[in-house]
């Protein structure tokens, strides 16, 4: 591809990425922010394409746009009052901005200072194969550790999500007791299910 096309793509994708990222900061609605984030991620995927990294680009879309942003939306939807204006924590904005600015300057300095040794070669064709081979040959240990970590995280997430009804009942009862001014309550008292299923109704005459 000629320089003109490359520059056109690079600058428009860069604008898309940075514009999307800026809009995340500006937008006060969390759902809007996620949608801007998606735009930013799509820009990054496009930048990968200009680097002839097909595989990474496609994976970027598959994972970040198709999965992670959807998960974020899910999380926001399941959070009470997610549509609330999220611009309240204005007190911490100053220090946080300072930290971010410093990190950004450091990153840019590294980026500019490093000699990247730009390669002007034909695109790698069999990227997936190369990545796969390096993953299971050179980087087998980190790959395995990552896999174990992810499995552990998965199990942990399930364990957390399956919070027992018992816990909820105990919590509710203690709150109730507090409300009535009775002090703490013995958990044993409330473990019984609150409503016993009426067995007589479910028995047909058969």
């Amino acid at each position: 591809m000629s320089d003109f096309g490359f520059h056109l793509a690079f600058w428009s994708l860069g604008a898309m990425t940075i514009g999307g990222a800026s809009m995340i900061l500006i937008s006060r609605n969390l759902i809007h922010a996620v949608i801007w984030l998606v735009m930013s991620m799509l820009g990054v995927a496009g930048l990968y394409l200009t680097l002839s990294a097909d595989f990474i680009a496609v994976v970027q879309v598959l994972i970040y746009v198709g999965a992670i942003s959807v998960l974020m939306l899910f999380a926001i939807m399941l959070t009470p009052r997610a549509e609330r204006d999220n611009s309240q924590n204005i007190k911490t904005a100053g220090p946080a901005g300072l930290v971010v600015l410093m990190v950004m300057i450091a990153t840019m300095w590294v980026a500019i200072d490093t000699d990247w040794g730009a390669v002007r070669e034909a695109a790698l064709t069999e990227q997936a194969r190369l990545i796969g081979e390096s993953l299971i040959k050179h980087y087998i240990l980190p790959f395995e550790i990552g896999a174990v970590l992810l499995t552990a995280a998965l199990v942990g997430a399930i364990a957390l999500a399956r919070q027992d009804d018992e816990d909820a009942a105990i919590h509710a009862a203690s709150l109730q007791a507090e409300l009535e001014g009775e002090g703490a309550v013995d958990p044993v008292d409330v473990v019984d299910p609150p409503i016993a299923a009426d067995a007589s109704d479910s028995e047909a005459s058969s």
Binding site: L78, P80, Q163, A168, A169, H171, A172, L175, Q176, E178, L179, P194, S200, D201, S202, E203, A204, S205, S206
Partner: protein
């Protein structure tokens, strides 16, 4: 409001959330009044926790036409067309029930041919109504109208026969106090013969398509279950009651129009779930065809309308007549004060009363189950609201 009040409220909210579910807020969804599955302007207000129904409350009255009041201003004969509009999917049954009540009040003897014709049309109406009920039920289970249209084909043929006989398809206004309005036209019996000849194959087709359908089983079995005790206590009737295993059919229990002369059986279900209601309706269609066969074979000759004055003034008194309409026990309670119009005209609507247990049937199931349950009860909003 003080801060302490705020805190109390928040705590109460948390307690509620913790005891009702996984700490999430319930969502209230209005199914209706305009909704594809409420079969008319019926509104079901469901409170959902995720997809689970926590509470179901029905709001009705969108189709209320104050028929009971209007009927007090019209003569006994003039009231017959109202009964068509009460349950517009089973107009013949409603005509019949009202005429029985009026005849009881007036002490009219109905000629045998009229009785046979009444049975014929009541059973045809049952076939048509059950075709509609089962078709829409499968639709509520999510089928893309295919079984519905197949069953509509049968219903169309029944309606054609109605049209042939009395000129109307839905609001028939065919029954009269003392008989029926017109004798059967010549072309009716051959059409009915053909219909009776074709139906077994059609029913076999439906059974092949639907009875062993695993998805239908998964959607309808064990859904909307009600026990026979609860069903009787809730005054449920018709296929909803019979699906629980209670063999209660007014055609057998209190035969009218000479039903005792016909041989038929009362199908009952076992588990009282939506699928049993569907099966009971399928079986009832077959029994109706059996009755129709006998009616056609033993059709008596003679007058079809007793000599009843159009301007009848019944003696003061009251009557309560019931028939087994496709939806259940349909009763008319008439009170006369000796005047030309009923002093009180009351309809016992099976659709409305069958909804008594809707809440109990739907709570604990998912939203989709509630829809299937509602579909299996087979409501007609005209009859609910009157």
């Amino acid at each position: 409001m003080t801060t302490a009040d705020d805190t109390r409220l928040a705590m109460q909210g948390t307690i509620e959330a913790l005891t009702t579910g996984d700490g999430s807020e319930p969502v209230v969804v209005n199914l209706g009044p305009q909704h594809p599955s409420t079969h008319g302007v019926f509104r079901l207000k469901v409170t959902l926790d995720g997809e689970i129904v926590q509470d179901a409350e029905m709001r009705i009255g969108y189709l209320h036409r104050s028929m009971e009041k209007l009927a007090e201003e019209r003569t006994y004969t003039q009231n017959i067309p109202f009964t068509d509009r009460i349950d517009y999917l089973a107009a013949m049954s409603n005509n019949l029930a009202y005429c029985l009540a009026a005849e009881e009040l007036l002490g009219v003897e109905v000629p045998p041919r009229a009785n046979a014709i009444r049975v014929m049309f009541a059973e045809l109406q049952r076939v048509a109504s059950h075709a509609m009920a089962n078709g829409t039920f499968i639709n509520d289970c999510g089928a893309w109208h295919t079984p519905l249209f197949h069953m509509f084909r049968d219903r169309e043929r029944v309606l054609d026969m109605f049209e042939m006989t009395c000129g109307a398809r839905l609001t028939t206004n065919y029954m009269r106090i003392g008989g029926v309005a017109f004798d059967l036209p010549d072309e009716l019996l051959p059409t009915l013969e053909q219909f009776l000849a074709d139906m077994p194959e059609n029913i076999a087709n439906y059974e092949a398509l639907l009875l062993e359908n695993e998805i239908l089983h998964a959607r309808a079995r064990g859904i909307g279950v009600i026990s026979p005790e609860m069903a009787i206590n809730s005054s449920l009737s018709g296929p909803v009651l019979r699906a629980t295993g209670v063999p209660w059919d007014l055609r057998k229990a209190n035969p009218y129009c000479g039903y005792e002369d016909y041989e038929f059986d009362v199908p009952v279900g076992e588990q009282g779930d939506c699928f049993d209601r569907f099966l009971v309706r399928m079986a009832e269609v077959k029994e109706s065809l059996r009755i129709l066969r006998q009616v056609v074979d033993n059709l008596p000759d003679g007058p079809w309308l007793a000599d009843v004055p159009l301007h009848a003034r019944p003696e003061p008194g009251e009557s309560y007549a019931r028939v087994e309409s496709p939806r259940g026990e349909l009763g008319f309670y008439l009170v006369s004060d000796g005047g030309p119009a009923p002093y009180r005209f009351h309809c016992r609507p099976p659709s409305l009363i069958n909804l008594s247990a809707l809440k109990e049937m739907s709570i604990g199931g998912t939203l989709a189950d509630a829809i299937v349950t509602l579909g299996s009860i087979d409501i007609v909003v005209g009859e609910i609201d009157r």
